[in-house]
């Protein structure tokens, strides 16, 4: 059985807009990946626990609430604490330019704004997913 790329797509925080997350989840599915979609209003703890149980290669976080500077670094921090810093973490949503660099520093490998072609996300994952 060939190795499938497994991706957890989650929405941390309280905003209820999951259109983008669903579009990305579907695009990754169509690219042959196995996407575990966990839905809305996830705490960083829930996301990390799910990522570990599902043994995913990638965590994709969608956030539009403005709380990204708190919630996204918390996810990467918890992953590090659990020894899972090899999981690739990417994010999408409304994230101001000045926040991009600090988030990269915090371990978010890529950040996508509105209008990003989904192909770009697929290619990034394929190029950067950890080898196993």
């Amino acid at each position: 059985m060939e190795r499938k790329i497994r991706v957890l797509v989650a929405k941390p925080g309280l905003d209820g807009h999951d259109r983008g997350a669903k579009v990305v989840a579907r695009a990754l599915r169509d690219a042959g990946m196995e996407v575990i979609y966990t839905g809305l209003q996830q705490t960083p703890e829930m996301i990390v626990e799910a990522a570990l149980q599902e043994d995913v290669d990638v965590v994709g976080l969608s956030i539009l609430s403005g709380a990204h500077m708190t919630l996204l670094p918390r996810v990467t921090q918890l992953l590090r604490e659990r020894g899972a810093e090899d999981i690739l973490v990417i994010a999408g949503g409304i994230i101001p330019d000045e926040d991009v660099e600090p988030l990269r520093q915090a371990g978010i490998a890529a950040i996508y704004g509105p209008g990003t072609p989904t192909r770009e996300i697929v290619e990034f994952i394929r190029a950067h997913v950890r080898p196993r």
Binding site: E2, G32, V35, I36, Y37, G39, Q41, E45, Q53
Partner: protein, 313 residues
Amino acid sequence: MMDLVRRILEGDRRALARAMTLIETGDPASRVILRQVYPHTGRAHIVGVTGSPGTGKSTLVSALARCFRRRGRTVGIVAVDPSSPFTGGALLGDRIRMQELAGDPGVFIRSMASRGHLGGLAQATGDLVKLLEAAGFSLIVVETVGAGQAEVEVARTAHTVVVVEAPGLGDDIQAIKAGILEIAHILVVNKADLPGATRRVAQLEAMLSMGSPDAAWTPPVLQTVAYRGDGVEELADAIERHWAFLSAEGRLEAFRRRQAEQEFEEALRFEAMRMLRERVLDPERQAELVERICQREIDPYSAAGKVLAAIRG
């Protein structure tokens, strides 16, 4: 690998998750893992939950898991969703309905893509269940893909099969067809707050009154509203009753023997196929034979005979 298995037996969740991936991908290490965990399996009560897409299986599994947690059980869940036959990708959405289980160390949920396997489960579902058993979960729930009429494989994996229905699905003719309803030990009409629930219950009871596969166990027909927990205690009671029923009069031993037989035959088939491919059926030879079958130069059985003749010697 010894270390990974030791960590699983000690309840290390990352080791468990990692071993599941190795087994799912058919990694060479999976043989060793399964060999080492096998003596630690066979203790849990395995409950299968199946039914058509949209009947509320995942929501019901979540409510059921919470109920069994209150009763002091630990719960492992394997939830299977279909892979795309075109891209091989999958969207595994069962966890969305199981959020209320998050943060409970007595629960472990794993989503699985069917990866082209028919029958309602994935190829490796049974092996993932064994890992959960070895990790010490006392109740394991296997949720099938949205199943129609013929996805009855869960009956081989699970001791107790719960078939979930919803109001408005099918009439009394659907109810007497062979297949999924026959494998039910417990029938549940979920979404019982919707119109048509009592009618569906009546149809299912009428079906059962004509007889059930095991004369000693008549499947109860229960009603639930999973999202608000109605009827879930009664369902858990029925599941425990079925376990007590199985535990009596050597039924569990008979189940285990049947399961051992099927697992052995499956392993034999799998290993035989692997050996054939290694020794006498390389991809070119296969392509050549397929082409000849396609051109009607040879029939499939004769082609298989030619391959086997090579090892008969």
